[in-house]
């Protein structure tokens, strides 16, 4: 698969938290050739199983990346304009002047309405617009709007992916579909090699509204080991250098209480053996990713986090380096290829002699 065209398809697909249907169809279609079995969780997560060649019962590795994206929901219709609420952590500062699609009876193109600076009091021009003053305009007469749009209808950001210099791309929803792409690349390669463990790839839902798909599907899958994939803050103008990661520096591996140290060590070894560049991402507590929910599923799951650096998170110009997506895919592939039957014993907590 060509990573850039895969990223384009995933980025441009629609699928707000709780309403992931269209992107789920795309992921299903993408994974179908590479997995033995596809299923849907109760909340809508897509679960693809690639069987290993080990003896049954085989241990299971869960790979999770979320496919939902942030957006808006219609809360009221006023003079033919739509009032809105956020679905997930939508950044209201980037809404002004955006093109959107209102998913009414049929899809309606629209724009985020803006009052021109000419008519605003000077003070207001220096302030970002609060959500209570943010409207969507579909350019139709009020009666027609009322016929076609209902409270609760979803509104997606409309943005095509742009190819920038150096195989960098910009667009919406790379958080976290870039990681869905990385898992897809890994599944493709793994379908051609023998691996011992079962691999259960999960495109989770409702991450942006509270890690919900991961929580439910980790229970359903009951993995022995899990790697969550998400995006992390790329080095960018306006943000402190610490806690951000250079684009093109390779995937970041999470360090901290959310992650099993044995699993982290193995990921580093896999990267080093294969000369895949990587970065370390210390996270002292809540990681805010699917890994946080998966780790405490059932009796507990050794979990790790692999992240792709991304600039301008939750903006329609999310920007990343395609090579980092490919590297994350290679890291997962190598990790699975190297997984032996006894790996869980290898990383079991050792109790040493008391000093």
């Amino acid at each position: 698969m060509d990573v850039i065209s895969l990223l384009k398809r995933l980025s441009e697909a629609r699928g707000l938290s709780g309403f992931e249907g269209p992107v789920r169809d795309l992921v299903r279609e993408t994974w179908e050739p590479f997995v033995d079995h596809l299923d849907e969780g109760q909340l809508g997560s897509l679960i693809g199983v690639q069987r290993g060649c080990g003896k049954e019962p085989r241990p299971r590795l869960m790979l999770a990346a979320h496919m939902d994206e942030v957006g808006l929901m219609v809360t009221d219709i006023e003079d033919g304009f739509l009032r809105v609420s956020r679905v997930g952590g939508t950044d209201r500062r980037v809404l002004l002047g955006l093109e959107v699609i209102v998913h009414g009876r049929h899809d309606l193109p629209g724009v985020i309405a803006t009052r021109p600076p000419h008519v605003l009091p000077k003070e207001e021009r220096k302030k970002t617009v609060p959500l209570e003053k943010t409207f969507v305009d579909v350019g139709l007469p009020e009666e027609q709007v009322r016929e076609l749009v209902s409270i609760g209808d979803l509104i997606s950001i409309e943005r095509q992916m742009s190819k920038l210099a150096n195989r960098r791309v910009a667009g919406k929803a790379f958080d976290d579909r870039a990681c869905v792409a990385a898992i897809s690349l890994a599944l493709e390669r793994l379908s051609k090699i023998d691996h011992v463990w079962d691999v259960v790839a999960v495109a989770t839902v409702q991450e942006e509204t509270g890690l919900k798909g991961a929580l439910a599907s980790a229970f359903g899958v009951a993995p022995d080991l899990a790697i969550a994939l998400d995006v992390t803050f790329g080095e960018q103008p306006g943000a402190d250098k610490s806690g951000t990661f250079p684009l093109g520096g390779g995937p970041a591996i999470g360090l901290g209480p959310n992650f099993h140290p044995g699993l982290v060590e193995r990921l580093k070894k896999v990267a080093e053996d294969r000369e895949i560049p990587y970065q370390m991402d210390p996270i002292p507590g809540r990681s805010g990713t699917d890994a946080w929910a998966i780790q405490v599923s059932r009796e507990g799951v050794p979990t790790a986090l692999v992240s792709i650096p991304l600039r301008y998170m939750h903006q329609p110009v999310e920007l990343l380096a395609a090579e980092d997506v490919e590297r994350a895919g290679r890291l997962l592939t190598g990790f699975v290829a190297d997984l032996e039957v006894g790996f869980l014993d290898e990383i079991a907590w050792k109790v040493g002699e008391a000093a």
Binding site: S150, G220, G243
Partner: protein, 341 residues
């Protein structure tokens, strides 16, 4: 329609060449003379049919607001300044076309996750924003977008039914009107159709054009402000008493399962039970944890609207209460495993 081509053309003040070419091609066969003056104004004359015709000037400006590259940083970012009155509130999240090759570039800001809540109010100045074209360093950025390169919004023209959207309707809408006039039948007077430059940086093109044309009277054609969106008002009332049971679509604790919502609304529609949707995004219920039990449980919430909840004295409408009983009972009667398929 010529408005599409004009809107999508690229013509920041001082760089109106593309627009000028489109306009000239559109009118050259319908006017008697076409000239371009020292600043780049396109001056046309459509001779009148009368004896001793009046000199009437009708103008529209070709230029649009935009950005200009004024520096490059070590990370390969383009520093910019505004050309004309650009609204800095609109730049974060924008996709731009940079330079004559229209290379894509974007403007992003610090992620919301890293922004303190007090900072959310602040609009970044144009000078503090940069365009990211994916370049890795200064020399690459300099080569791709040298000093003085213009950038504008990369917005496509879209049809929304009776309305259309696009960039630069100020003043390509005026240009399109003037093109239509020039393509029509001649007037009694001499029509001096003038497509001007540099309006957005201080009405500069029109000044010299008016001097040259020396008209007896003139009309300027513009795309102007329409500020008819609703003004500040409270949010919607969450629910209203007497309008029936309230069905939740999304609140702070969960997103309702669409299949169960459909069961409720289909049942209500079939039996003519009045119902309303609770304003999305407000409040939370037990469904917030129920839907996360084990491998997930499809959930919905139905509520009796009630004023003054959490106060010593609340109020509800008994018809709403009866209708809630009816809606839930009848919906449950229709519930089967197939509902969830």
């Amino acid at each position: 329609m010529i408005l599409r081509e004009l809107s999508e053309a690229y013509g920041v003040s001082g760089n109106e060449d593309d627009v000028r070419s489109i306009v000239r091609d559109a009118v050259r066969d319908h006017v008697d003379t076409v000239e371009i003056d020292a600043l780049g104004n396109l001056l046309t004359v459509k001779r009148g049919t009368g004896d001793d015709p009046m000199r009437v000037m009708v103008s529209a400006h070709m230029d649009e607001i935009g950005l200009m590259v004024v520096d490059h940083d070590d990370k390969g970012m383009l520093k910019v300044q505004a050309v004309g009155g650009i609204d800095a509130r609109l730049l974060p999240g924008a996709l731009l076309a940079v330079g004559p090759e229209r290379i894509p570039g974007v403007i992003g800001i610090k992620p919301i996750h890293l922004t303190e809540s007090g900072e959310m109010e602040k609009v970044s100045k144009v000078e503090d924003l940069v365009i990211d074209i994916g370049a890795k360093g200064k020399s690459e950025a300099e080569e791709a977008a040298p000093l003085g390169t213009y950038a504008t919004f990369a917005t496509r023209y879209r049809e929304l039914g009776p309305t259309v959207t696009g960039k630069a309707f100020d003043d390509r809408a005026g240009c399109a009107v003037l093109v239509e006039l020039l393509r029509g039948e001649p007037f009694e007077f001499d029509l001096h159709g003038v497509f001007t430059v540099q309006e957005e940086v201080g009405l500069r093109g029109a000044r010299v054009a008016a001097y040259a044309v020396d008209p007896e009277c003139a009309f300027a054609l513009e795309g102007t402000i329409s500020d008819d969106i609703p003004k500040e008002k409270d949010g919607s009332p969450t629910t209203e008493l007497g309008k029936g049971p309230a069905i939740t679509l999304m609140d702070r604790s969960f997103i309702a399962d669409r299949r169960l919502v459909r069961l409720l609304t289909d049942t209500a529609d079939e039996l003519g039970i009045p119902h309303q949707f609770k304003q999305p995004g407000v409040g939370g219920t037990d469904a917030g944890v129920i839907h996360l039990a084990r491998d997930g449980v499809p959930c919905a919430t139905v509520s009796v609207p009630s004023r003054y909840i959490h106060s010593p004295v609340a109020m509800l409408n008994l018809e709403d209460f009866e209708n809630t009983v009816r809606l839930v009972r009848e919906s449950l009667r229709r519930l089967t495993r197939e509902t969830l398929e």
